[in-house]
Symmetry: C2
Subunit: 407 residues, 2 copies
Amino acid sequence: MKEISGGVCAPKGFRAGGIWCGIKASSRKRDLALIYSEKPCTAAAVFTRNRVKSASVLVSQKHLERGICRAVIANSGNANACTGEDGLRAAKKMAELAADLFAIRTDEVAVASTGVIGVPLPVAAIESGIESLASSLRSDESGHEAALEAIMTTDTRKKGGAFEIEIEGKALRLGAMVKGSGMIHPNLATMLGFITTDAAISREMLDAALRRAVSRSFNSLSIDGDTSTNDTILVMASGLSGISPIETKGEAFEAFAAALEALCVKLSRDMARDGEGATRLLTVTVTGAQDEDSARSLAKAVVSSNLVKAACFGADANWGRVLCAMGYSGVDFDPDHVDVSFAGKAGVIPVCKEGAACPFSEEDAKKVLLEDEIEIRIKAGAGLGEAAAWGCDLSYDYVKINGDYRS
Amino acid sequence: MKEISGGVCAPKGFRAGGIWCGIKASSRKRDLALIYSEKPCTAAAVFTRNRVKSASVLVSQKHLERGICRAVIANSGNANACTGEDGLRAAKKMAELAADLFAIRTDEVAVASTGVIGVPLPVAAIESGIESLASSLRSDESGHEAALEAIMTTDTRKKGGAFEIEIEGKALRLGAMVKGSGMIHPNLATMLGFITTDAAISREMLDAALRRAVSRSFNSLSIDGDTSTNDTILVMASGLSGISPIETKGEAFEAFAAALEALCVKLSRDMARDGEGATRLLTVTVTGAQDEDSARSLAKAVVSSNLVKAACFGADANWGRVLCAMGYSGVDFDPDHVDVSFAGKAGVIPVCKEGAACPFSEEDAKKVLLEDEIEIRIKAGAGLGEAAAWGCDLSYDYVKINGDYRS
């Protein structure tokens, strides 16, 4: 598996572009993105589990029912959520505008939005920009970059990437872009992720690979059920790599699924690092849990604890907060058999052994905790379950960013 | 029902005191408290549901098995949690030291601790201070104040109170003290609450009244299961008011339970207002839910949302975050039938009607949101369930306080 350039345009058959059409009224930053496939793609997606769903999510869920997709149109600056019937009409209109460009079916277009909730989507701005959006499409990295910029909100870094693997002696590519940075507490910000691949794969196998990858990556950034109104992760497979279609779980499926997971983990780490106000990346690894799900729940409880996050911001080796967060995770474990270490480039500092303090140098711990990347390493018992979760510290800037987001 | 002075010393038969014995090594602030009843009391308590329980919680749970209590000894500056066998011995020793003072049974003493996790409790400091702790006992407000100061950690206000009601023409009193201020996110800080009363009441009825009151007050500050290692709420009833013992659910029980609930709600609001770094008190009221539990879950999800809290700090009428938090609460409701208003002394500002925006003056909303107390008023549908939850805004100071708590 090797990293390649091109992002969502790296796999064969995809073009992407992005423009400013006026939804972000004050900034003139790009706010409208399009990804287009020359062939109809097999598609799979996961959407927010929030009971309050944006109009774009509702429309995309309907459009993707057949498992076929040729284009995604996405906007930033407006979530098109809590916007009632008008919002639904606006989301459908977005899909129609994109479909008309290529004379494809409206339900072959997925729609995504991110931004402020409860404000009507200025669909006229999208309509007036649709032609220049079409002209902005490129089949190289520049197209990827423009589209990626157009879905960003409080993101401070561009988060995308592409991998190439070999199957049957042929190159198979996967590319992706994501936006989302409010991961400092998990329920907070919309996450949009668009993944392209030139794999030939059945809808069922694509869905299985996506669900596994998401549970081990993006979902380990956030607590189950704690999702925004707009979260969307979509994968489109053009089939143009020339490999034989993946229709069952065999060697080819596992190779594809592993590459998809690796891409999603990379982007999850990028998102955690780009958490609103984040100064450091926090990885929590749990081993010794009863099973993978228990390990993940423990890791997520710790990485989501405001107190743990604030302690990491302050480079304070407050391991008691780690145990406390494990304790309210709902997972069954014996506190007397928990070990905790803080790990970084400067070393590994065991701070808790069998549920109680073990002596450590505060100075050495400080050194580790001041690094850009901190790992909290937990042994939760003698089980075989292990998992990782990612997050970031809780800083003054988080409060600043979220104290007056709308203005 | 009238408010009276005296705190936990207001009901007949109680004395209280507090000293500095050296657990808070650097500050010389009071760190050891004692509440003593001249008669054996009927007792009921609720403890943390965290899987990781402090030694003091484990010992108190055991001691209260018979439902009888004559004294509480409590320390601040050290949580005695994650301290292993030594911690259990230390907690038992605390109870013994208090029991020896009055020649009472060790299991008639409850123990409570709050402070840093994972550091051995300096039991020698307690031992050396126990005589002066005994001499500090007073039967008036000064005793209450000294004990209350001795259980405070990051609290910035003293939180206590007392009520008097009349039953059978006789005065019945309830007094209380609480500590806890990390309620800005619900899972974070230890809450200790000690309630005294001179009611004559059976253990079963006392337990029922306490559980009802706690669910409508302190538990509406926090998400179920998200509790610290040390949370303890204890009520002791001396019986000295001279009323006939309350042994069944009748008029007297309801009067007592209502007074207990009112006291607990008052202290919950005080705790929310004293949230770490809080600049304003946030009350979320939900009506129209399917039942009381659903209403409470919705209210708690909203009051606990970092995004809602940060918006309140920034006086930003971002009602979309309110709907988003309701959406991930796990409660069944129809987003299209939700109304939201922000209310304060300056007026009531409807911001969302039937799940969508309704026009409002940003200026008027700002006026309300800049007040010391903000109410978010939610109608979740056409049901009969209603409940309230309390919290506070999320400020820069929260991060500051929690970034380096141990040093």
